[in-house]
């Protein structure tokens, strides 16, 4: 069963392993189809990835940073670093935002590649 990162979760995906918080409280039982609200709950509990049923379009589940050609990723990283007034790794939260935005841009780049004739 593939592990899916939080940012790649979509409504309707089937959870294959019970999702529990750090106190072992059951948040989402296995077999459940994910709802938008549950995705927000996962985020609120700081759960970075869960196990979901494999789908035909498994590319959707993979980390977009790993799917981009290295040179494209390098260029995106360089451009994003240049946009920050202060070094993007200046603090933990700044680093977190940088990574989030880089992953978002990578996803957008992949989508535009897929839609290119």
């Amino acid at each position: 069963m593939p592990n899916a990162k939080l940012e790649s979760l979509q409504e309707g995906m089937i959870v294959t392993l019970d999702v529990r918080n750090m106190d072992d409280m059951l948040l989402i039982p296995a077999g459940c189809a994910l709802t938008g609200r549950q995705i927000i709950i996962l985020s609120a509990w700081g759960i970075a990835e869960i196990q979901v049923e494999a789908r035909g379009d498994s590319e959707d589940l993979a980390d977009p940073l790993q799917q981009l050609p290295p040179e494209t990723l390098e260029q995106l990283t360089r451009e994003l670093q240049a946009a920050f007034w202060e070094p993007a790794d200046g603090s933990l939260v700044q680093q977190e935002v940088f990574n989030l935005v880089l992953r978002r841009q990578a996803k957008q780049a992949l989508e535009s590649q897929r839609h290119r004739p």
């Binding site: 995705i39 609120a44 603090s91 935002v97 989030l100 935005v101 978002r104």
Partner: protein, 294 residues
Amino acid sequence: MNSAMHHLVNGIPSLGSYARVMAEIETLLNEPHSTLADLGDVIEKDPDLTARLLKLGNSSFFGFPHRLETVSEAVSVIGIQQVQELIHASSVVELFDGIGADLADMESFWKHSLACGIGARCLAIARQMPKAEKFFVAGLLHDLGRLVLFSRAPDQVVEIFRLYQSRRMLLRQAEISILGFDHALIGETLMRCWQYPANLATAVAYHHCPMSAEIYQLESSIVHLADFLVHAMQMGHSGERFVPPLNQKAWERVGLATCILESVVRSIDEQIEIVQQAFLRPPKKVVLQPRGEP
């Protein structure tokens, strides 16, 4: 208020073409026997406003489980105070509609501002702030001062941009060099003239330096963080080419876990299009003249 600031903000009307609707709502609210249907009737006299309100009410921005069919239904679930704030925010968008494309790409400017509003509201909800909805307005208006500059001082804006492009600096640093103050202070001054609540005006004033605020540091920090996020996402354009610095103490003051950021980014992505449609369509021209012109 110094004379340059007075010169900039003096006489900018607060409500544009929605002044009549807002006055009628106020009158109804002061009448003991008025009903939600009466309020709905007043708003429905303006078909454009009605369409905007229903579009927003039925969007993921509010996420109500059932479809809102009438304005009075929208007023009952959204709340009259928030409806008034949304009308006011719409009127600001309309008020500055005549700014020339040579000074700013206004669609991109409003996209940045609306995204900041969505982000500030999400952060306030996550932080369990009372009246978290108000943060949408604070985020939406955080760069209000830039609009005042574009419409009232276009020559100085050209000078500011010339300086800004000549070296590596932040746009607000260029504003301070040329004017002696920045857009945040102009925005706050105008919001106080418009009698916005002090916490929102302060959040706008200190959105670049939230820990310098004597009061409402938390509110200022939330808008600061939303602005930083939206700049990093490169969603729309405020005129600033850099992602401005993040104040680490402001992040600590907000006190959220970093994992919240992902859901905020996701909410901005999900809601921006519908919020843009609700606020930016269709344009009605109300052109402000630069000061001193006939």
